[in-house]
Subunit: 220 residues, 2 copies
Amino acid sequence: LLLLSDALRRRVVADERPFDALPSADDHVILAGYGRFGQIVARVLKLKKVQVTALDLDPAQVDVIRRFGFEIYYGDAARVDLLRAAGAERARLFVLAIDDPAASVRTAEVVREGFPGLRMVARARNREHAHKLVALGVEHVVRETYASSLEAAAIALEEIGFPGGQASAAVDRFRQYDEQLLQEQLEFRDDEDDERYIARTRHFTKELEQIFEQDQQAET
Amino acid sequence: LLLLSDALRRRVVADERPFDALPSADDHVILAGYGRFGQIVARVLKLKKVQVTALDLDPAQVDVIRRFGFEIYYGDAARVDLLRAAGAERARLFVLAIDDPAASVRTAEVVREGFPGLRMVARARNREHAHKLVALGVEHVVRETYASSLEAAAIALEEIGFPGGQASAAVDRFRQYDEQLLQEQLEFRDDEDDERYIARTRHFTKELEQIFEQDQQAET
């Protein structure tokens, strides 16, 4: 109940506050979602002197970020009128860093339809979310915990005694095949709970095991 | 209310099912939390023929993963008796891949106290969570969306015309300084809402901007 009333309160506050007026810009990058993911992208772009128009739907978050000296606007990136006012037609790139899959997919749809020439780089929560974004024609889809989990895997391998070169080679190899699997899964993404999906994944895992075994034989 | 009843129902189901009996192992890696992050680590380790004892607190998740052919047990990694039964004293490494910060920190405390010699690699949700794990003496802390957000930043820079080498150099540079900031923030992690924290971060951002400006001058 506390959670519920908190959610309602936030919604009321959010509804009461009108969206910020966005400045119209040229040659900029529009970034939607200024959470853990979006703010890293924005900070790197800013350091390379790229103009970024950042949007977030959480007014409290927007206020906090402003205190740190970053330019960010309170607004819904799935509103085509708002994007048009901000000069989305003349933007160089759209970075979709919204965490919630439903809101992210809705925004990708609006951008794809309203600004067909605007290329996108998107954050995905998981495979299913990634599949949806790829199906919408999003040019680059990055699974949000994927790269860090591979880093942790490499650290783990080194911790238990594998030389650094072997650890990173194993991770690179895994990644190459796992991304291939992601592509193949696109073909039957509606059967995710299916025996067929499970059988295919098992088959792929077996293939990957064989490849690693060959690698290990080649090393010894 | 639906959310609440769902949470209660899940809790009841979870409480009814006893934890799995774990096999006692030697020279293995114990992995707690088999979500998006943990399963990637486990798969890479498995391919390198490392024995992994994986634990997860979500019985439904455990059942699904088993169908894919992976060995995983339903159990709470913050239970020292359970860890001892699984041979934690003779484990080579503890991978802490639990997503919830409170459960993760609790588990890190139990492992640190119960098995002081057991080294850890941990997933962190954000800076605050990372700070807590580092303070507990966890050897390696990996922020879960950090590496992927840097990848997205490099892709964005390339998309808008920076050569690949410049994009990756910018990201490497950013990462180097951002990790230094994380270390420095450890000193005053209890003041996170403080003006001092904000001022320090702003100062650091300014420093980083100057470094990037020097880089750019060196490049041109």
